[in-house]
Every structure is written in C-alpha cells, then in structure tokens.
C-alpha cells in the first residue's frame, strides 16, 4: 500500500480534530467520553437517539418494549450484518451484554448494567432482557457506553480485545468503519454500507479524526484549516478568538455536562457532626450560598458563555427538566440577592460571617476551575456573609478524600451515561449514592423508585419535576453551570447543528460539505 491512496481518500472527506483521549476501542474497556465518542461512530446500538432528540428509538432493533415491568424484549431488524459480513444476530447481542458483565473491567461501564439479571436469545432475531427491578431507563441504558453491539466472532468473551484485532476484524456495526487506527493520534473512518439503523447512512464517505494533545494546537489547527471541524475542547479564550474568524463557524448545542457544589451534611457549617449542629441552620447556610452565587457572572466571565447557568439538577434540554432554583433563591430571576440571603441566615439564627472551607480540583474539570472557584470565593465574600477558605487538591486525592468527609463544601461535575433525566437523579439521591454527602431523604428516595418504574411518559415527567423541586428545597447539591457542546467548523461544512443535540453524541455521519 502506498501513502497516496490514503491521502486521496481523505482529501474528499472531512477532517475532525479533537483533544479527546481514547482509553479503549473495546466498549467493555472504557467508560469515558473520548472512547465513547469513537464507539458512537462505529458501533450500532439496540436503541439510540435520532439526530435532534434526547429520547431513544430502535436503532438496530426493529422494535423494543417492556413485555412486563422487568422484562424487555427486543426484535432485531432483518438481515443485519457487521461490516465484515458476519450476520448480526441476537446471539451477538447476548454475547455483548454477557461479556460486559463477565469482563467487568476496572475502567469499563459494567456498573451501568447493575440492574440486568439475564439476557436471552430465544431466536435469531429476538433478545429478552430480564431486569432485577422495574427500570424505565433501560432503553436509554441500551444507548449508553454499555450498549454498543459487538461481533462475537471477533471479540473475546472474557477479556478485552485489542484495537488491532477489532480494526482488522472489521467488526463494526455503526455508521462508520475504521480503516486505520492509531490510538490517540489519528483515526481514518469510512462509511459502513452495512449499517441500517435509525441514523441512516453517513453523509460523507471518509472522515479523518486527528487527536491533539493541546487545546491551543487544536485551535490553531482549525484556524489554519488543517482540520475542518474542531470538536472538544477549546478554551473560552480560543473560542472567543475563533468566533472572530469569518471562514469559521462556531456551533453551540445543548450539553449534558453539569457543574455543581456538594454540601457534606455532616461537616458543613452546622452539619450533623459539628459541635454547633443544627439542620435548620445548615439548610439556611446552603440556601444563602444558593442565593449569593451569581451564575451569570460565572458563565460569562469565566467561561465566555461556553457554559450556561444551571437552575436544576437536571440540565436544560432533557425531557422533564425544570428550573426550580431560578425562582427559589436570589432575586427570583436567577440572579443573586444578598439581602434575601442575609435574611435567610438571620431568621435561622446563623451568625455571620459563616466560615466555609471550599474545595475544588484544578485538574479534573478543566483549568478554568481555578478561575471559577476564585470567582465564587469572591462572590461569597463580597456578600459579607461568608469567609471562604479556598483550597485546591489534585483529583486523585480529591476523589478519595471527598468521600472521607474531608471536604465540607466542594466542587463536582457530572457527565451523563445516557440522555435521561433519571441519570441526573438516581445516582445522586438514592440511598448509598456515589456522592456520599450524607443526604438521606426518604421522600426523595420514594419519588425516585416511583419514577423509575413509571411507564407512563407524562406521569414520569411529572415525577421528575417533583424530585427536582424536592432537592432544590433541600439543596444537597447546588447546581451551578451546564456545559454546552461547542464545535468550530469551516463555514462550508454542513450538518454540525444536526448532531449537536441533547443526546450529547457527536456523530460524524451528519457532517457533509
């Protein structure tokens, strides 16, 4: 083979640049955005969200439904094949899910399948999932990082399969196949004729993805025309500069990423294990913080509007999302109100200023965390109600220590596994959740178990609203910002906006020139 062919192929195609990092091409070995972004291009799902919607529809499936509250039955489309020609049957689907559970890799997404009891393939086209409990998010889970369907003839049942084997085995079931794969350097995609799912055929035959190590390099690359599309991540400064460039278009789409502060109910001021423990005072402190932070300022000044204010634990754009915090605290329109916060504190009898030990991690949620928390500190202190002791800690220590109640108030962020409001609720507020901040509300937990089992769309949406209201009142976490998906493209590239949707999946198949 000579270099000429590859160069010619690619010239007609689209080149995408990113600073993502891939840990594994094998869906069983990764649970991160960078890897999932690739898997989304090349693997089909039983259920997947079409362009423009957060909600899932059958993808490789012909139909899918709950045959009883804990049984989910999927019928596959006719004549499905992988790119290598192998038939894609229910046996591959069963293989896919069994192997996720069998491998349960350290870095894998098997925890998403915690509710899966068994997978059966009664015939070539039918798959029956048996769940441990009623779970209305199951169709969404099928579109999550745990859901890419893999070829049982290429993948190993018990261990991770190497990228070389996957690529040479051409075991792809999505819109694209990978023809050349150099991990974290470059990927060459070619449209997969065998794909026949909800997304339709890829609009461009050939896509090249280049992986940059530095945001600035990506910025300069798209500016210089080295890449047509720059997708994740560009710093606010870079974006502001690129927006001035006429030959480029900056696209914004809703993002699923949220940033919030966590209050540790034990160690926060007046928390349960503090000498001056008082639940009401603690609540007043949380409410006062909520009333003083100025989200607009954070979004604008620190993030140049690449993040938007977030007024609920569920981000805007998802089915069922509301904005309870907008009216509950501050000036009632989302802005801060020091007077209101002052009276909240004084009526609860909290003596001011309240000393807050605020923690954040400088290396996990982007370098702008430094600015974000410096500004929050300034805002809190400017109110005169708080003195803030701000401290940053590297992520690894941070994520260990935060569970050990070392941090009274601290920063966290969330990126969804799938585009369902529940993914922003259950992991946070069920008993023994991952946050571990000792918030334990029986009411909220009851609502959650009701919501997850509710198969009526409208009723479930209402329940989701109620839960948001309840946690907005208790404030175990204080939502601050919601990410936006921002893509910069050459002006002649089309289709970017089609795929910047609340599914948070950026599909190269939508792009064309």
């Amino acid at each position: 083979a000579s270099g000429g062919d590859a160069a010619d192929d690619a010239l007609n195609g689209i080149s995408v640049g990113t600073t993502d990092v891939i840990t594994s091409l094998d869906p069983a070995g990764s649970y991160d955005n960078g890897s999932f972004a690739v898997q989304n291009q090349v693997f089909g799902f039983l259920m997947n969200s079409p362009y423009g919607s957060p909600d899932v529809e059958p993808d490789l499936a012909e139909s899918a439904e709950f045959t009883d509250p804990t049984t989910y039955t999927v019928t596959l489309k006719d004549g499905l094949t992988f790119a290598n020609g192998n038939a894609l049957t229910s046996s591959d689907v069963k293989f896919t899910f069994d192997r996720q559970l069998a491998i349960a890799d350290d870095n894998g997404p098997s925890s998403l399948l915690g509710n899966l009891a068994s997978t059966e393939a009664p015939d070539d086209k039918t798959v029956v999932f048996t769940l441990k409990g009623a779970d209305q998010t199951w169709p969404q889970i099928l579109s999550s990082p745990a859901g890419p369907i893999v070829d049982e003839d290429v993948f190993s049942a018990t261990s991770l399969t190497s990228p070389d084997d996957i690529v040479s085995g051409n075991a792809f079931s999505g819109q694209y196949t990978i023809t050349d794969y150099s991990e974290n350097e470059s990927i060459q995609y070619a449209a997969n004729d065998a794909y026949d799912g909800v997304l339709g055929a890829a609009k461009t035959d050939s896509v090249t993805a280049t992986y940059y190590t530095e945001e600035t390099d990506l910025k300069l690359a798209v500016q210089e025309g080295d890449v047509d599309v720059a997708n994740r991540s560009l710093s606010p400064t870079d974006l502001a500069d690129l927006a001035k460039d006429d030959s480029l278009t900056v696209h914004n789409g809703p993002g699923g990423e949220t940033r919030y502060m966590v209050f540790n109910f034990d160690t926060m001021p007046h928390g349960a294990t503090q000498p001056d423990a008082d639940a009401a005072k603690a609540l007043a402190v949380r409410q006062a913080v909520a009333g003083v932070v100025d989200r607009e300022a954070l979004a604008k000044e620190v993030y140049n509007d690449t993040y938007t204010p977030l007024y609920s634990v569920v981000p805007d754009g998802l089915t069922g999302a509301t904005k309870p915090l907008e009216s509950l605290y501050g000036d009632g329109e989302g802005g801060p109100d020091v007077d209101a916060a002052t009276s909240t504190l004084s009526s609860a009898g909290v003596s001011v200023p309240v000393q807050i030990d605020l923690q954040y991690s400088p290396d996990h949620y982007g370098a702008s965390s430094d600015e974000e928390y410096a500004l929050i500190k300034t805002q809190l202190e400017a109110s005169g109600l708080f003195t803030v002791n701000l401290q940053s800690t590297l992520w690894d220590t941070y994520s260990t220590e935060r569970r050990q109640d070392a941090y009274p108030v601290y920063q966290l962020g969330w990126f969804p596994d799938f585009s369902d409001a529940d993914n922003y609720l259950s992991p946070f507020f069920v008993k023994d959740n991952f946050v571990g901040n000792h918030y334990d509300s029986a009411a909220v937990q009851a609502l959650l178990s009701q919501e997850i089992a509710e198969d009526d769309e409208t009723a479930r949406t209402a329940l989701i609203g109620q839960i948001q209201d309840a946690v907005a009142a208790d404030l175990p976490t204080l939502p601050l910002l919601q990410g936006t998906q921002i893509v910069v493209s050459a002006s002649d590239v089309q289709g970017v906006d089609d795929t910047l949707d609340p599914s948070f999946k950026f599909r190269y198949g939508a792009l064309s020139r």
Binding site: E185, Y212, S399
Partner: protein
C-alpha cells in the same frame, strides 16, 4: 532538568584520570570491567523500580482517578479488590518484582495495553526526537563551544555564552510556544504539532513492518512529499530540545577545551610551531572530548526528562508524553514499566558512554 557540567562531574583536571586507573588489569581487565559495569545496571534499575513503585502507591490508584466521580463507595471498593489493589503493599511489591524478573512488565491499568507495546510504539517516537535533538545539540554546541574557547574572554565569547545561557534559561514550553507562534502561525513555514500530517501518519502506519521511526519509514517509502512532511514536523521540537541541550554542550565544550588548552602538551605543541587553530581543533578538543562524552551520557537522562515537556508542547506522542499522561491518570503499572525501561536506557547509555570514552582514550586500550 538537570544540568551538570564537566567541571562538576570531574572537578579535577580534564585529563581523564579515572580511566587510567583501569589500565593495570592486563588482558582480561577490560572484559571484566565491562561485565562488572554492566552488572551495575541491575541495582540501578532495581532501585528505581522500587522507588517508583512505592511513590506511585502513595499518590493514588488508577481506578479512583478515572471513575472516582461516578461510582459509589461500594462499587469502587469492589473494583479495587478485583484489581488486587487492596492487598498489602508488600505483597503487591513482591508480585511485581516477580513479574519484572520474568521481564513481564504487565499491562497498563487505564487502557489495557502491554507495556512492551507502549515502549515499542512510543519509544520509537522519543528515540527519533532525542536523536534529532542530539544532532542539533552536537552540530551547534561543539563548534560554537570550540569557537568560544578560541576567542575566550573577548566579546564573541561573551555573546556566545549569553546565548547559551538564554538557550538553557528559557523553559522548554515557553521556547516551544514562541517558536510555534513564529514559524507555524506567523510565518506559516512549519507545521504546528504532531509527528506528521494525519494522512501521512496513516500512510506511514500502513507500510509493512513499520519501525515507528517516521523518518526511516518515510525514507523506505521513498516518497519525497512524505519525507519532507515528516522532517518539517521534526524541525521545531528538535530545535526546542536541541537548543536547550546545545547551550549546555557549548558551555561544557568551552570549559573543557580551555582546560586542555592550558595543559602542558598544548604548550609543547605550540613550542613546535603548531598553529593556534590547529591547537584548538586537534590538541585541545580530542582530550576534552573524554569528560565531555561522559557528561553527555548523563545528559541523556536530562534529554529524556526534557523530552517530557517538549513532547507535550509539540504533541509529539512519545514516551515522555505518554508517561506524563499515565502519571496524571495515576496508572502506576504504566509508570513503573516505562520508568523501568527509561532507567535501563539511561544505565545502558552511561555504560556505552564509558566504553566510547575508553575507545577515544588510547590509555585504556588493552
């Protein structure tokens, strides 16, 4: 970055006193010396591996680092146990040593790749970079160092020395940024980052048995566009790392050449009517090279260290860059493995440097 210069390593006169001691051994002496010297690599590597093992266990684990904000306490504990990270550290250490002895460095914790695979893939990139940088450093550092020694204490010497200090004083990332802005963005002459254009990198990946050293692969393909592209990508990183090293070399050569210029045999040659230029070129340089080479060997460790920053700055995916990524991910298996290999490389280089120094110095020939 660690800068050691000749006069620190060998504070005594430049004439290589150390190797001379080995002379008396007679026939088998060199062989035995080499064997003992080679065996010394083992404790070096052992100490480093041990050091890294325990340090890395203190700084955290890859699982918490990667999914610490998604999993509940119980789920996390379960995964830690599955990976064996909850066992007593000494048990883990012994197990690791056992693996090392079998030359099995394991697979990385974060992305499940064979360490040996990583070494081969990224080692080639680092090798290429360090090689280019060394060329730049030698081509610039040695002649300019000789020139500075020749014109010592006059203004060209001062200019050269201050330039050398600048080369060394400018942090790699700062120099890299300035070079990038100048040559890539402003002048548009050279590519920004990476080792080759994406399409060309793909083409290079497709050839049979790629060495991973792009320039070799490109030459094998015999396509001038590709070769040019590969070379143009190498210019800035090689300059950044090379100039830094050249500054150090310049200083080293200058000091040592001035030192040898003061020795009696130079005076003796002068008394025979040998010209000044020839004195510098012939009489002063070669003996001065012996300590210079020894220090240059030590600089290899520095070059590898410097390559971390250079690789990061220029998106040059080599061992240094990879190492930093794994470090951030607290992937101790990967860090241990790469460090062990780096340690071997450094130890072997120092060993080879000793051998080369011995070859230049006829007094240690047997």
């Amino acid at each position: 970055m660690t800068v050691l210069t000749g006069d620190q390593i060998a504070p005594e006169p430049p004439a290589p006193a150390a190797p001379r001691r080995r002379r008396s051994g007679g026939g088998g002496g060199l062989g035995r010396y080499l064997v003992v010297r080679a065996l010394l690599i083992i404790p070096t590597v052992f100490i480093l591996v041990t050091l890294v093992f325990f340090l890395m266990r203190v700084v955290g684990n890859p699982i918490t680092a990667s999914v610490g904000d998604r999993l509940t306490e119980a789920q996390l504990a379960e995964r830690l146990a599955a990976a064996g990270y909850d066992r007593p550290i000494i048990v883990q250490y012994l197990e690791y040593l056992g693996q090392i002895v079998r030359l099995d460095f394991g697979t990385t914790a974060t992305d499940n790749r064979e360490i040996s695979d990583i070494i081969v893939t990224y080692g080639a990139a680092t090798l290429e970079l360090v090689f280019y940088a060394l060329i730049v450093a030698l081509v610039i550092g040695i002649p300019l160092g000789m020139l500075a020694a020749y014109v010592r204490d006059r203004w060209p010497d001062a200019v050269l020395r201050i330039l050398a200090i600048f080369a060394y004083a400018t942090p790699v990332f700062f120099a890299g940024l300035l070079l990038k802005l100048t040559f890539s963005v402003w002048l548009g002459w050279l590519p920004l980052s990476g080792r080759a254009d994406t399409r060309i990198a793909i083409a290079l990946g497709r050839i049979e048995n790629p060495t991973g050293i792009y320039i070799l692969d490109a030459l094998r393909l015999g396509n001038s566009t590709i070769t040019l592209d590969v070379l143009s990508h190498a210019v800035l990183p090689a300059l950044t790392l090379g100039l830094l090293t050249a500054g150090i070399f310049l200083r080293l050569v200058r000091t040592n050449v001035i030192g040898t210029l003061g020795s009696e045999y130079v005076d003796a040659a002068r008394s025979r009517g040998v010209s000044e230029l020839r004195l510098v070129r012939k009489h002063a340089l070669k003996p001065a090279l012996i300590p210079i080479i020894t220090v240059m060997g030590l600089q290899i460790a520095m070059l590898l260290g410097g390559s971390v920053l250079t690789e990061t700055t220029f998106g040059w995916r080599g061992l240094g860059f990879q190492l930093q990524q794994y470090l951030s991910a607290r992937d101790f298996v990967a860090v241990q493995g790469i460090v062990a290999v780096l340690a071997v490389i450094v130890a072997v280089t120092n060993f080879l440097v000793d051998v080369i120094a011995a070859l230049i110095d006829p007094r240690v020939r047997y």
